[in-house]
């Protein structure tokens, strides 16, 4: 049997299982099928097997260059290097939905394993129902508008164009999309439990405890995915930029913002039993935003460097987004009276007060990003003008929010729950404050100027100092256990955030860019660096030809930025070269090669300080997330009103 019919069969089988899952769980909930869970286990097994099979079949088709599969004919090529050939799966729409679905199935399997002992709990049943609905949606997408296994009749000697050159020239492309999807899809599980909490009316803390780690993990993957994406654009796009507030970047950032808000506010609910509606809404919003993000990436409504080719799946995704929102809002309105929080906050200057402020800020941040992203569409709909909302808007609007968040990051970790006295606060914060001031003075001495970056360094040092203080105290008390658990892991994550904030501020404020026309052998001095253009080379690869310029930086090492032509994809792209040190990065890209080999080259040089710390910060955040998932020391509830509902603790 051919790959395309096998693949189509696997997709059809998966769809049938997902749809059957909805029916079985519904029957189980109606009491008509007492042993529904056993059926679910079987269905999930078959569904996952089918999904894995569909991915394996597609990869086999890609690796064997089976051009009878339309997806391979359109996106594959015999000249694509092996690694990127495997990664071709997620370089186009249909394959990316395959990947999405297989990850989703993986999460569903994990839910089955985790909750197999709670099969009699209606909350688990409703969560499965939600999960099957989401699975069905993605399988149906593959059955209809995004069918990956269309067949193609290749003429003799046919070879494909291969994936977009930008997607096959850097190793990060092999990791960024799967990691990002692990994050996106991971939020399905907390969403399913939020919905089931609303339906069953058990809106207490039970669903939170059930999904706490899932949320943290999904958040960690999303964080890492975003950082890897920024790294990829920095290394491949050649303008020394890593974050451009592009619609697709914003689409991945929005669920991160609401997810981060949730990770903080959830602690208020666990400890004090408050903010129930808010937490449910945040989980639902995060999941909805991943779907909205998928729409933005896939529909072509908003212009973006990252967008896929326009496709017909836009309306389907939009419809699904609408369904999620209608169902969720309906449930929240219906359960409104039971969502009343039993607790209250005694003082704004307390841990929970700080979390509340944190949430207002993250909500504002998300609102700014969402509004800025869709605003051109709004204006166009109202009076037909086309406008742009870009970097200057997002920077100006989010900078104050970022500053206040950094400040909160400094004081919140040392704040006690319920109520804080200023004496305690001033004792705990004096050393972090000195670290903040110290970093400002240090920055001044090494030549940093401007109030905005200086404020970022100061607040960053303050926040980093506070996180450090917590970790030091915890490890002093508990040894290595002071590094694990949610609170301590969270402090490590904070340190990663501080690194990114400082690197972001410094690279934005002190970036220098210049364009130079250099003859072979000519040297230019730019921002205290010496660059010598030594000459150019020409190299042929199976999938491309590359013309590179040899540029010697500071007389130490030769870097070779170039321009690559992918004749079969009909595209020419720049191949930047970056010299990284902990102090600064020099990104080189060739704007134009001369006609003759001995003529001048036009070189773009971007020098930015501290870039490397963005990636280090991202890795620190990921490491902190892993530490946070490791069980730490258990805590007792502090206030009577925050006690979890008994039934759920036992469950």
């Amino acid at each position: 049997m051919s790959n395309s019919s096998l693949g189509a069969a696997a997709v059809a089988l998966g769809t049938a299982c997902a749809l059957a899952g909805i029916v079985i769980v519904a029957l189980g909930l109606a009491g008509r099928r007492p042993r529904w869970f056993a059926d679910v286990v079987r269905l999930v097994t078959v569904m996952t097997a089918a999904s894995v099979a569909s991915v394996v079949i597609m990869e086999r088709a890609l690796i064997t260059r089976d051009f009878t599969v339309a997806f391979v004919a359109e996106n594959g090529s015999s000249r694509t290097p092996a690694l990127f050939n495997v990664a071709t799966l997620w370089s186009a729409l249909e394959g990316s939905i395959l990947l999405w679905t297989v990850i989703l199935c993986g999460y569903v399997v994990a839910v089955v394993l985790k909750f197999r002992h709670r099969r009699d709990d209606p909350m688990v049943a409703w969560a499965f129902l939600t999960l099957f609905v989401v699975c069905s949606f993605f399988f149906l997408l593959m059955l209809g508008p995004a069918a990956p296994f269309g067949s193609f009749d290749p003429p003799v000697g046919y070879d494909g164009r291969g994936p977009n050159p930008l997607l096959q020239n850097h190793i990060l492309m092999a990791f960024h999309p799967p990691v990002l999807y692990l994050g996106y899809v991971g939020f399905t599980v907390p969403f399913a439990f939020a919905i089931s909490a609303l339906v069953t009316g058990r809106v207490g803390e039970g669903w939170l405890l059930a999904t706490r780690r899932w949320t943290v993990m999904a958040w960690g993957y999303l964080t890492l995915g975003i950082v890897l994406g920024a790294w990829w654009s920095y290394e491949t796009l050649g303008w020394g930029g890593y974050w451009a507030w592009d619609p697709v970047e914003n689409a991945s950032f929005l669920p991160w913002l609401t997810g981060t808000a949730f990770l903080h506010s959830v602690m208020v609910q666990e400890r004090r039993g408050m903010l129930r509606v808010w937490n449910l809404s945040l989980v639902i919003a995060t999941f909805s935003l991943t779907i909205l993000g998928t729409f933005i990436t896939r529909s072509g409504v908003l212009q973006s460097v990252h967008a896929f080719v326009e496709s017909g799946i836009g309306p389907a995704i939009l419809g699904f987004f609408g369904l999620i929102v209608v169902v969720s809002l309906g449930l929240i309105a219906w359960r409104g009276d039971e969502l009343r929080s039993p607790g209250r906050i005694d003082s704004p200057i307390s841990r929970e007060g700080a979390f509340l402020a944190n949430n207002v800020l993250f909500a504002a941040f998300a609102f700014i990003v969402l509004l800025g992203t869709v605003f051109p569409l709004i204006v166009e709909a109202i009076d037909g003008r086309t406008i742009s909302v870009g970097n200057p808007y997002f920077e100006r609007m989010t900078m104050p929010v970022g500053f206040v968040l950094l400040f909160l990051m400094a004081i919140a970790p040392v704040l006690p729950w319920r109520k804080a006295s200023t004496t305690v606060l001033s004792q705990r914060l004096i050393w972090p404050a000195w670290i903040g001031v110290g970093s400002m003075v240090f920055a001044l001495v090494v030549g940093a100027r401007g109030w905005a970056p200086m404020l970022a360094f100061g607040l960053g040092g303050f926040a980093g100092g506070a996180a450090l203080r917590q970790v030091v105290l915890a490890t002093r008390r508990q040894g290595w256990r002071g590094l694990v658990g949610r609170t301590n892991g969270g402090m490590i994550v904070h340190m990663g955030v501080v690194l990114i904030a400082i690197a972001f501020a410094a690279s934005n404020a002190y970036v220098r860019q210049g364009e130079f026309t250099l003859q072979p052998g000519e040297t230019v001095v730019f921002a205290d660096h010496t660059l010598t253009y030594e000459g150019s080379d020409f190299v042929e690869y199976p999938n491309r030809s590359e013309r590179t310029a040899r540029v010697n930086i500071d007389g130490a090492k030769v870097y070779e930025p170039g321009i690559a032509t992918y004749p079969f994809a009909g595209q020419t792209i720049g191949v930047p070269s970056v010299r990284s040190t902990p102090i600064d990065d020099i990104a080189l890209s060739v704007l134009q090669f001369p006609e003759g080999i001995d003529d001048a080259v036009i070189l773009r040089v971007t020098i930015q300080p501290l870039i490397i710390w963005l990636w280090i910060g991202g890795l620190v955040m990921a490491a902190g997330t892993v530490l946070a998932v490791v069980p730490g020391r258990r805590r007792q509830p502090t206030a009577p009103t925050s006690a979890p509902i008994v039934e759920e603790v036992m469950a």
Partner: protein, 188 residues
């Protein structure tokens, strides 16, 4: 929970849910009714404005100034020697120029876009065309006309006002049609 507290919180829930629902519904309608970005037309603010200045040495060493051509229709053609539609439209421009050269009511000026002088000279030697061609420092003209890609042509009326913007390859018939249409509209 007392009855009043219950109705209070229900009302509160409704009040918070409603605005969110309305906002999301609007967003949905908005996203559902937008056409994909790539289908939006390129507009020009130049229409009806005095044509921006184009002056400079031609490849033949003469001096060109668009203001010297008041009283004549001028087709300002931005092109590049490597662009396929430019090569395709070139015979049409030659055709157009030859028909109008004798009458003197219209002419063409070509402005190279991101190209090198040698290539442009070869191009005209190969494909023909006997009208002013500008190569040196043409980037500034392209910016002033808001050129986004090649080929792109502007029809400048005898009054010196930009009358039409034509994106992509053009034909002599299309140009003549535009001109006669504009003359009729002006007469009416």
């Amino acid at each position: 929970m007392t009855e009043s507290a219950r109705s209070d919180t229900t009302r509160l829930a409704l009040w918070t849910v409603l605005p969110v629902a309305v906002a999301t519904a609007l967003l949905l309608v908005l996203l559902a009714t937008r056409s994909p970005g790539s289908e939006r037309a390129v507009s020009s603010r130049l229409l009806g404005e005095v044509a921006p200045l184009i002056e400079g040495p031609t490849i033949e060493g003469d001096w060109f100034d668009i203001d010297d051509h008041r009283g004549q229709w001028v087709v300002v053609n931005f092109f590049s020697t490597t662009c396929v539609p430019c090569i395709q439209e070139h015979p049409e421009l030659v055709n157009f120029q030859e028909t109008h050269a004798s009458v003197g009511d219209a002419t063409v000026v070509s402005v190279s876009f991101d190209d090198q002088a040698a290539n442009v000279i070869d191009f005209f030697a190969e494909h023909g065309g006997d009208w002013p061609v500008l190569v040196e420092d043409t980037g500034t003209f392209a910016v002033r006309y808001g050129v986004t890609g090649v080929p792109e042509s502007y029809l400048v009326a005898p009054t010196g006002v930009v009358a039409a913007k034509l994106i992509g390859g053009i034909t002599a018939a299309e140009l003549d049609g535009r001109i006669s249409g504009l003359i009729e509209a002006a007469d009416a």
